[in-house]
Structure formats: structure tokens, C-alpha cells
Symmetry: C2
């Protein structure tokens, strides 16, 4: 089963219209940023295919496409870190999504056990940018 | 000129190490989410190639790769919406970046004139997810 979304007929309807016409990439995926609804903390960036997007909108629970496992992925199905979607936004050219979520289980999102996947800062201002160091942040 | 970044030698160093070893996609790009540093508002999602990433780290000003124009893109060069990077984070498997920025010019990020590219909400709970409506939000 593959969900079918419409395609915008013009740049105007894509950017200013009220119809959801997501632009999936050549792999059939759209980027989705999950944000903790109460704190605004950015938890993760993952990918949705058409079916995952449809299921997320219908169920109100975040579904993604696992690129490593090549399968539909209901986030938290095994970990308990279910993401309940409070709000969903799409960007100007409809190729990126932001979801505000509340998280079940231990409240985390990252497979490493960290709350957010973005647990390391890139050190700025070093002599050689391509050798920049990472510093684990408090989260 | 193409910047060269190292590649992680193991999943352990990729996820737990202190070396920046970004994983660019097959097009040589990595996703970057720009967040307003003071408010936490998500402004945009764009893409960096190795050179844009290097220049962002070195200069402290956001550079991207324009997929439409196929060129390096110093954000704000024409609009004045220069993004000064206050903080930069990378995720667990080093294929996504978040930057906290302060924005020059009128403080916006979107080419449509909106402050954030995410100016439309996807209506949840409709009968048919593939026909979901978009509602312009206050931003």
C-alpha cells in the first residue's frame, strides 16, 4: 500500500496554497524534525515516506521510514518512546516537516539513550574547520 | 575547492567520539536546521555540502548549498538576513546539523517574506490524511 498525495500545480499553490502537496525526494522521502512540544527541544531528524506521513496525520502518532532497516517505523514501538503529535508544520516549498511531540516512555528520542539526538556541539572557531571537535552537551 | 572531512572508522567513534565526521548523502549534502537562538523558533531546513559546512564553522556565518541554483549560498548575502551562528550541534549518526542563529536584516529566513519557512500547519484529524489542509499560522 502506498499513500498518494497530490502534487502542487504551480509554485504559487505550493507556497501559498492550503493543500498538502508534499515534495518527496528521489527516494520518496521527506525530512521531518521532531521537537519536544513543551520545551521546544529539538529531539531528532528523521524521514517519512508517503505512508509514514499518512499514518502520522491519521493516527496522531509519529511514523517514519527507517532508511537503515528499509521499513515503516512507528517510533517507540519497542522502546516505548511513542511520539504523540501535538502540531505539524510544513515549510514553504513543502519538502520539510516539523512536528511538535510529547514523548512516551522515558521521554527520550535517541537510540543511544540520550534524550535528544543532538547531544554534541561542534566547536566553533578552531584553526581548521574540517578538524573541528565535538563536545558532549548537558542533554 | 572541496573541503575534506574525515570519516568515522566505527559506529562507536561516529556516535560517541569527539571528532567531526559528517556523513554527507549521495549528493554530498547534509541537512541543517536553523533555529532562532533567542526564541528557539525553527526558521528553516536547508542543506550544506562540505564546503558550506567548512565555511560555516570557520566564519561563524551560515552557508548552505542551494540545490535549486546548484551553488554555494551565503544566507542573507542579498537579503541581509545573515545568520550568525551561536551554536552548532550534530546528531548521533552525524548526518544532521542544528544551528542556533541570530538573524540580520529584518530577522526573517524565508524567501516568501515570512519569518520562518514553517508558516503553515497541517490540519490533523481529518477524514483523509492525503487530503489534509494547510492553515497559515500566526508567524
Amino acid at each position: 500500500m502506498t499513500a498518494h498525495f497530490d502534487t502542487a500545480l504551480s509554485k504559487g499553490t505550493l507556497e501559498s496554497g492550503d493543500a498538502l502537496t508534499p515534495r518527496f525526494n528521489e527516494d520518496g522521502l521527506i525530512a521531518c524534525v521532531a521537537v519536544e512540544a513543551d520545551t521546544g527541544e529539538i529531539l531528532m531528524l528523521a524521514w517519512m515516506n508517503a505512508e509514514a506521513l499518512q499514518m502520522t496525520i491519521e493516527s496522531g502518532t509519529a511514523h517514519y521510514w527507517s532508511r537503515s532497516r528499509q521499513c515503516l517505523w512507528k517510533k517507540g514501538e519497542t522502546s516505548g518512546q511513542i511520539q504523540t503529535v501535538r502540531r505539524m508544520r510544513i515549510d514553504c516549498d513543502q519538502d520539510a516537516i516539523v512536528i511538535d511531540v510529547t514523548v512516551g516512555g522515558d521521554g527520550g528520542a535517541c537510540h543511544t539513550g540520550k534524550r535528544s539526538c543532538f547531544y554534541r556541539d561542534i566547536e566553533l572557531g578552531g584553526a581548521d574547520a574540517t578538524r573541528a571537535r565535538l563536545v558532549t552537551n548537558a542533554r
